[in-house]
Assembly symmetry: C2
Homo-oligomer: 373 residues x 2
């Protein structure tokens, strides 16, 4: 009897030999030569990633949540003002807002696109009469783009700043352009499981406005306007390690190919599950950070897969409204996000999945569809 196949939900250490060799070279160079904070490795990655994105400037920081908090701080939003965040965003933007004294205001998502829209944003704005709203965060969740062609003009009309959370969207292009350049600032996370992952924590902000980038650099290092002198308020210490920067530069050339592999895996899942479930985003553009199937009987599908050794995940099991630590005025989940949360299951989707693992998942999904259809 064959050993039952186990398929992990994620496996960040499982990398191809070429990418592993590039990472090891990058580490070896920084370990031997330094510097271990800042210096050419960080400057090099900031430059490499800005070129890749088509951004004017990139600032490396400690992690993606710090990137969000620094985005808010550098935009100098009025103290206590509101920031619109999608209920489905996992709490990252909301907790970053709280860190810098801002009030998260929750948007529902559209039941069709599964993302916030002008309608849901406008409703959230209306609900927040007592708190003036100063900004909106769009989270390009799971590697799928929030549609901005209507949202961006709307937020401009409303006088709101726009932060694009691209933590799950490194490499995501819509109409040939990388996401993140429509808003005032884009934020990235390089958590190891991310499409572009470090071997530890890391993050970045991308800008088209160099002044905003310069302000962020100051805020990310204590508010120092010169070495050892805190010249502006609101600073913290949040730096991208030189080691991680060198690793990210080494991994960046592999990103588009790896994203294409994710897209291909997700396409097979989409086609197979089409009779019973749909997926976030667009099969043509997605970079499938997560392959989230959305449909009824989510728990039964997860059980079915788990029983066959296929690990699944849930991104995310709690809406922002359901997180007491965010201290939101309204703990009632908005209806579409509430339903979506109960319908979502993340299937194994990363570029180093082996052919037989993918086949095993596909077979299990086909079996499921046969039973349910």
């Amino acid at each position: 009897m064959p050993v039952p196949l186990t398929v992990p939900a994620a496996a960040p250490t499982r990398l191809g030999p070429e990418e592993t060799a590039a990472i090891e070279r990058a580490i070896g160079s920084v370990v031997a030569n330094g510097p271990w904070i800042g210096g050419p490795a960080v400057e090099g990655f900031e430059s490499d990633f800005a070129s890749y994105l088509g951004a004017r400037e990139v600032v490396g920081v400690g992690n993606g949540t710090d990137a969000l908090a620094l985005a808010f701080a550098s935009l100098e939003l009025p103290p206590g003002s509101g920031v619109l965040v999608a209920a489905t965003e996992g709490g990252y933007a909301a907790t970053a807002a709280r860190q810098v004294g801002l009030e998260p205001i929750v948007m529902d998502v559209d039941p069709e696109t599964l993302m916030p829209t002008v309608t849901t944003a406008e409703a959230a704005l209306e609900s927040s009469r007592s708190v003036p709203v100063s900004a909106v965060v769009v989270t390009h969740l799971h590697g799928d783009a929030v549609e901005l062609s209507a949202l961006d003009p709307w937020r401009r009309m409303r006088g709101l700043r726009l932060v694009e959370d691209c933590a799950q969207a490194a490499g995501l292009r819509v109409g040939g352009s990388h996401v993140g350049l429509t808003g005032d600032v884009a934020t990235f996370s390089f958590y190891p499981t991310k499409n572009l992952g470090a071997l530890g924590d890391g993050g970045a902000l991308a800008f088209t406005d160099r002044d905003l980038a310069a302000r962020t650099r100051v805020l990310a290092q204590y508010g120092w306007t010169e070495r050892y002198r805190i010249g502006v308020p609101g600073g913290r210490n949040s730096r991208l390690d030189s080691l991680q920067a060198a690793i990210l530069s080494a991994r960046l050339p592999f990103l588009d190919t790896r994203n294409a592999t994710r897209r291909a895996i997700s396409a097979r899942y989409r086609i197979t599950l089409a009779p019973v479930a749909r997926f976030y985003g667009d099969a043509e553009t997605t970079i499938a950070h997560h392959a989230v199937a959305v449909g009824d009987s989510r728990d039964a599908l997860a059980d079915h897969l788990n029983a066959r050794g296929i690990h699944t995940a849930h991104h995310y099991p709690f809406l922002d409204n359901e997180m007491p630590g965010l201290e939101l005025s309204d703990s009632t989940p908005p209806p579409a996000a509430n339903r979506l949360r109960d319908q979502s299951v993340s299937l194994p989707c990363f570029p180093e999945l082996e052919g037989q693992e993918i086949d095993h998942v596909i077979a299990a999904l086909e079996e499921w569809v046969d039973v349910r259809d």
Copy 2:
């Protein structure tokens, strides 16, 4: 003619072959096996470092400033209350206090011990009538201990919590015990030049109280009380990378020997400069994170050394009061700290200095004393 000798102020990449090999083994293991966030490497270091310190528990975090902010947050100090910090502390504790909505209140230092005392702390407390003070931070600056035998009972009498900033004091023992265990919490930085340095940013908190440690763990990871659920307010993302944790465990066995070497170098400086300058702390216990000579004609001494290829530094060129970003109510530097700032120069002092480099510094100091004495 011999090439003039240049002596750097610090050289964190210059490590002995045995320590380098240990670091490379640690990196190789984490790179190959993961996990790259949390896991055995982080747990192992937390356990190793707690044993080394004699603490009940250690929590690894992203950097030393985050450690201070998390210390304040986990102590649940009243919002807006005051935190006493020494004017000489470099602004790290003050900026951390500001991050969590607390008001830094500046203490002067004693002109003899160069550190805060009951007298300077009491004066700062008196000066802060409009803001209730909830805590005091003692910074064991330059690798020298703040004397706590009177300060600790005083702060208890005043109902203040005590945070010991040990960023520059890893390995510092007084009366056989490691500093940091008198207060409610001790904070550490593993910035590469620190006595125990990572190859990037890193920090930790050490506790005798397990409940406080548990609260800190929650606050250091978004306020999650379970995965993906922000259960308590005030969270951020601040983790010690597994890579850095493994490196720190590899370096910890070298710490006491390296500190003894620092102490021996600083002892030679102390003896040589005795006629014209004094040093922080105690020659017997110091771990000489910096070897700070304090005396008149500081600029002339620095010029004298720099002209001989000997790099010097200034820790720190600005007092907390002189940092506009801290938004202190009083920007007047307290008198003893003000004088000390103008008298201080940091001499090259790290364990990997070569014998001829130390001899070169000593010769230059002797020359200086001959001229000045």
